[in-house]
Amino acid sequence: MRRFALIAMPYAWLLALFLIPFLIVLKIALSDYALSIPPYTPTFDLSQGWQGVRDFFAALDFENFVFLTTDDLYWKAYLSSVWIAAVSTFLALLVGYPIAYGMARAAPEWRPTLLMLVILPFWTSFLIRVYSWIGILSGEGYLNQFLMGLGLIDAPLTILNTNIAVYIGIVYTYLPFMILPIYATLEKMDDSLLEAAEDLGCSRISAFWLVTVPLSKTGIIAGCFLVFIPAIGEFVIPSLLGGSETLMIGKVLWEEFFNNRDWPVASAVATVLLLILVIPIVLFQRNEQKQREAEG
């Protein structure tokens, strides 16, 4: 009985506040927009009994999903979200790998401190970390002041409110997610493997490509997914750092819901976004499982 209660409480909570809400999203995605409260039709009417249920299901259709394909705003937004997430992930890898590598090669007594320094920003507010770049990247911002002070540029660069600012924002905020899994694999690596590679004729650089990189592959993949997956649905970064050209699906959904009050379309957008995310999530899970199996 006690075991039942132990299972039932978190289970019921998640059913009520995670699964059912999501089913509601699905249902509304299949409904039609209406100028009413709530602003969609049909609504569930149990007073008419079985007939009401049948009417309800009969009124559901895929019209909103069809709409998503006809208006090119949506598929462009999906594509551009994936593209922006992919570019940012690649940049995060370029920035994060040398840091993880340097940490793994640092003296053992330094590593816990370095690790804490990587994790610390993760505890500070996401919003503030994004915000800090507005002052740096804006037209009269610190970066432009600095570059003009050095005489490198004559006129301020326009970075804020472009996709470049979004890349910087994503790389900056998600960098710890890239560094940590790569560091974990590099730190476990046996130094004698590199010596063996050199002994067998590798230069240091080729030993890095032939041994270090393949052995940190699972960490690289995990880090990339940990940046890529949340970046696709990102809302805060494109709306603060991005400009009017920045199309990201999280922002579209937000605007559809709050500005246009089109709940059915917003729900359809959410459903498709989730379907898109299933692919990287499954791949990520497979990578994690492979790593666990490799470890034994």
Binding site: E195, A196, E198, L200, G201, C202, L210, L215, K217, A294
Partner: protein, 382 residues
């Protein structure tokens, strides 16, 4: 240790015309204040199976890593084939190493591990395949070529590591505790396999080990090291029978060491020396090639198997002492008796158990005689 007939003896170190493959000349290595290698000079010859033996921290691994190129000497030079190898980086040396941890690349198959070094030489594909297959045959790994390192046993991994380091046909193969991770039975089998492979390929092997039995079994010559110095370099039988110092005698095998004062027997030409070791006891009669002054401090070292144990005093023994059996260790093939002498010394004596069901001759508390010949032990200076 069967001695081959004199004509076939492999002993290039005794031939003054033979050029060494490796020569250490006054090599010293310091890490900060710590001296890991202290002025070592050493020659190793072609086709030798050379063992560096010593306790952990004696510098043997540093010596090997200097050969591989992972450490550079602080002073002195190392010559390979007469060439100073200091400026040659590890990846350009005709020297390969088998790592203690094996250092097999976990993301590559057995085949790819063995081919790794060959690919670095940009060898043709056909020749790589041929060479890898040859190595797989040599180490009896044909069936495991496609497996990954974690899918094979410890003994097989050891053979992959060996095959990988031999694949490039190095002038010199370094083996760092190659059998350390194997259990005892497998270790013994593998020792013979190693010797066999060394002979077949004709490669010069330098092995680092802390296991004296292993060094004695596989090596043509053994260098015993302590605190960064080489104490003695000799063939295993010389190391065992004529150790150069108390340290070597004690490190290799079981030994009784008795301290005393030497009195050379004058002018006899056979190097006879008497050692006074305890009051009221007759001096130990021994022989030596060293020169001892009268009254000089000396250590008499004798192996337990060289001491006979009997009930009555043997008539013609050069040395005989009386004692009481303190302990008996039955080891199957031999038994070791710990005998306490009236002086308080405890001496170990060994007998071979040649008969299967023999009544044990002696038991605890028995009064026995220990005896040995004049040439059975060695006399050592400090």
């Amino acid at each position: 240790m069967a001695q081959p007939s004199p004509q076939q003896v492999f002993a290039p170190w005794e031939d003054p015309n033979e050029k060494p493959l490796i020569e250490f000349r006054g090599v010293t290595k310091r890490f900060g204040d710590f001296t890991a290698i202290d002025d070592v000079s050493l020659s190793i010859f072609r086709r030798e199976f050379f063992a560096l033996l010593g306790p952990s921290g004696c510098g043997k691994t540093t010596l090997m890593r200097m050969l591989a190129g992972f450490e550079a000497p602080t002073e002195g030079t190392i010559l390979l084939d007469g060439q100073d190898i200091a400026p040659v980086p590890p990846n350009k040396r005709a020297v390969n190493m088998m790592f203690q941890s094996y250092a097999l690349f976990p993301h590559l198959s057995v085949w790819e591990n063995i081919a790794f070094g060959l690919k670095r030489d940009r060898m043709e594909k056909d020749r790589i395949a041929q060479r890898v297959d040859e190595m797989l045959r040599l180490t009896r790994l044909e069936k495991f070529a496609r497996r990954k390192p974690h899918q094979i046993s410890g003994g097989q991994r050891q053979r992959v590591a060996l095959a990988r380091s031999l694949a490039k046909a190095p002038k010199l193969l370094l083996l760092d505790e190659p059998l350390g991770a194997l259990d005892k039975k497998l270790r013994q089998d593998t020792q013979f396999e190693l010797m066999d492979i060394q002979e077949k390929t004709g490669t010069t092997f330098v092995i680092v080990t802390h296991d004296q039995e292993e060094a004695m079994t596989v090596a043509s010559r053994v260098a015993v090291m302590d605190e960064g110095r080489i104490i003695q370099v000799a063939t295993p039988d010389v190391i065992y029978e004529s150790p150069a110092s108390v340290y070597v005698a004690d490190f290799i095998g079981d030994v009784n060491i008795i301290e005393g004062r030497a009195t050379p027997v004058p002018d006899d030409g056979e190097g006879r020396v008497n050692v006074a070791w305890a009051e009221g006891q007759p001096p130990i009669r021994g022989t030596t090639r060293r020169r001892f002054e009268t009254g000089q401090k000396a250590w008499f070292a004798i192996r337990p198997e060289k001491i006979a144990i009997t009930q009555d005093r043997p008539e013609d023994a050069a040395n005989a002492v009386r004692g009481k059996v303190l302990d008996i260790a039955y080891l199957g093939n031999i038994s070791t008796y710990h005998v306490e002498l009236p002086t308080g010394h405890v001496v170990k004596a060994q007998t071979a158990n040649t008969r299967r069901i023999a009544r044990r001759a002696f038991t605890w508390e028995d009064e026995v005689w220990l005896s040995w010949t004049a040439t059975a032990g060695v006399l050592l200076e400090d």
